[in-house]
């Protein structure tokens, strides 16, 4: 009789379906399958996908590699804490260190060139959020996450932390420069 009483028909599973339900189920199922296949499709034909490349490593090992890159390609320092700015050659491996509550180094990249950016945290979880592009990636301690990034247009961008990481979470921000 109603949804709060036992079904009136004892053999309810043999009752025929109304056309409206059947039609809707078919339409919804087709749409669900389209949505499902969009994801593999984008891996083949789309430009924006996360790599499946990640390595387990220690904060010390990661920091060491980051320091080597900084020593090699440092062009200047910025801000009151004198954070190094590095300008690595196209195609090279770049290490971006996230820690409470800063990003290091500041990157200066060339538009149209690709870079292998390694993301890792030294302590807690952080969130890599590139603005105003709005690319957002989780940054874990102990997992070196490799992304091949190709900046499209020159300009000043910002990396803000968007995974809550304690009391000064909102101060964790760094510029990222893209030059011609």
């Amino acid at each position: 009789m109603s949804a709060i009483l036992p079904p009136a028909e004892r053999v309810w599973w043999k009752e025929p379906l109304d056309r409206v339900e059947l039609l809707w189920i078919v339409i919804a199922l087709v749409w669900c399958l389209i949505m499902f296949f969009m994801m593999p499709y984008w891996h083949v034909y789309g430009q924006q996908n996360l790599a499946n490349e990640a390595y387990k490593t220690s904060p010390e090992a990661f920091a060491k590699k980051a320091d080597e890159v900084i020593a090699k390609y440092k062009v200047r320092e910025e801000g009151p804490q004198k954070i190094p700015v590095v300008k690595p050659p196209a195609g090279s491996d770049v290490y971006l260190v996230a820690r409470l509550w800063s990003w290091q180094p500041i990157l200066e990249l060339e538009a149209g060139k690709s870079y292998r950016i390694h993301l890792m945290s030294m302590d807690w979880l952080h969130g890599f959020s590139l603005q105003p592009e709005n690319i957002n990636i989780e940054v874990h301690p102990g997992y070196d996450h490799v992304l091949t990034v190709t900046p499209t247009a020159p300009g000043k961008f910002s990396i803000i932390c968007n995974e809550y990481c304690g009391i000064n979470h909102h101060t964790m921000i760094s510029p990222l420069y893209v030059v011609k």
Binding site: S2, L5, E15, P40, Q131, E133, I135, N136
Partner: protein, 574 residues
Amino acid sequence: MAVNRNFRTCPTTGLVFHEPAEKLMRWNAVVAVVALLVGGVLAIGVLLTRWQAVHLLQADLFYQFLTAHGLNMLVFWIIFFEMAILYFASSTLLRCRLATPALAWAGFWLMVVGALLNNYAVLRGDSSVMFTSYAPMGAHPTFYAGLILFAVGALIACFVFFGTLVVAKAERTYHGSVPLVTFGAITAAIIAVFTIATGAIILIPTLLWSLGLIEHIDSLMYRTIWWGFGHSSQQINVAAHVSVWYAGAAVVFGAKPMSEKVSRTAFLLYIFFLQLASAHHLLADPGLTSNWKIFNTSYAMYLAVLASMVHGLTVPGSIEVAQRLKGYNNGLFEWLRRAPWGNAPFVAVFISIVGFGFLGGISGVMMGTEQLNLIIHNTLYVPGHFHATVVIGTTLAFMGLTYFLIPVLFRRKVAFGNMATWQAYIFGISMSGFSVFMMGAGTLGAPRRHWDISFAGNPFGYEFPATAWLMIALMGIFGVGALVGGAMYLAITVYSVFLGEKIQTPDFATVSAKRGMAPAPQPVAVGATGHGAGVGAWGMVAPGTFVLALVFLTSFVLYYFVNWKYLSTVWPLK
């Protein structure tokens, strides 16, 4: 020990209440509302801080408020209320005695102690770790201990629910299959068992870690398992509030499910596939393959989304059929125009269905798409989405159910006349605006859980687009509306329950357990009813609902591809 078999029949609805079950329902509902009150007060601080024009609280207090707001709303308010629903859907709907009331009380008090302990941990100030408490960010041990106690209590309640089903079957208090609403509640309880087990798997080691007994908790392991608890608990809500939708349609319209087969299969799909969805929180994480992400985030090809789309059609569809059978059979939408727009439970359930589908459902699929997640992850879009699902979907449905339960369960009239109806409109519409503008700000990159997006005083500041600021301001305004709606609910509920006009039930007398065992109530006679034959148009019994469903689908498809278009403009990444 004699089994208490005292029952009371509600004179207006004919529902049968078992005395111990009724008391448990009342207490669970009352504690739930207390948690809602606490969460609501905290919401004021959270909202007025994120609304940058006001920026009320200091950073430490803000993060503390946000942590407690999340826990009291998402966990304590909703789960206490769900326990009341489980007892209602088993003991009351099956007209049977509650199994082991003493154990149920033990579960209840464990939940109360757990909730208090967890709130104490956050109140201390050293556990502002958010609802998610991602290790290696650590909280005070009482934070995890509170959650574990709460979860054990909830698990006990689930088993009391299952036990009650067994009692009903054994004592033959119903014929045939359980009602659809009970079936939905079983779905919720099965998902709850899985959820709580997952919670134990991650929270127990984390508790030991916080006590220094375990050295290391891997952040990726924590997130992977924790979301099996954190997301799955929201799936309990979905199963529960969809049941409440069906119950609402049944109570207000006497609506019969369009097809038991379809609705029950859709619930079954929830059990099979909803759990996988916890993977969609990990789409932007390293160390998991795309194959794993795609299979899981799509709930194995969106089979649980399919289930929600089915419920989204069958609930309004059953209302349409019921209305058409009553004679509102003209055109496509007479049934909707002539719906009881002044009836608070109906309005709440209606806005809940529409808001959950259009705002919560569609946005949820966006976030859960592997690549689209890149432009959404951890932005304000995320809380925008879940305020649409959990607040408009679940909380508003529960509010509607409250207005039905106050007279039935508490035997008091709903106070303040039409205010309950106004409450449903104000809360539903404000919360919809709030969610939409929050998602808008998120689309423009504004982060969630962030004290100050103006980055005042920071040498490396970033200025969000003016539109984002406008969205935040609109979010603030609609948020205040939602707070007003929430306060109205609390005022109506608390006043009605404690001071409301009593409904006299002439035949009612409490029979003490000592005076012997009354016979179990007689099963309901099985009456034959026809399907909605002879109504509708185009060979469909619910053509109006079908048109609305197509409107929904069109918005879904358009918005889905708009997001792909937007994604295609950001930096290439691989």
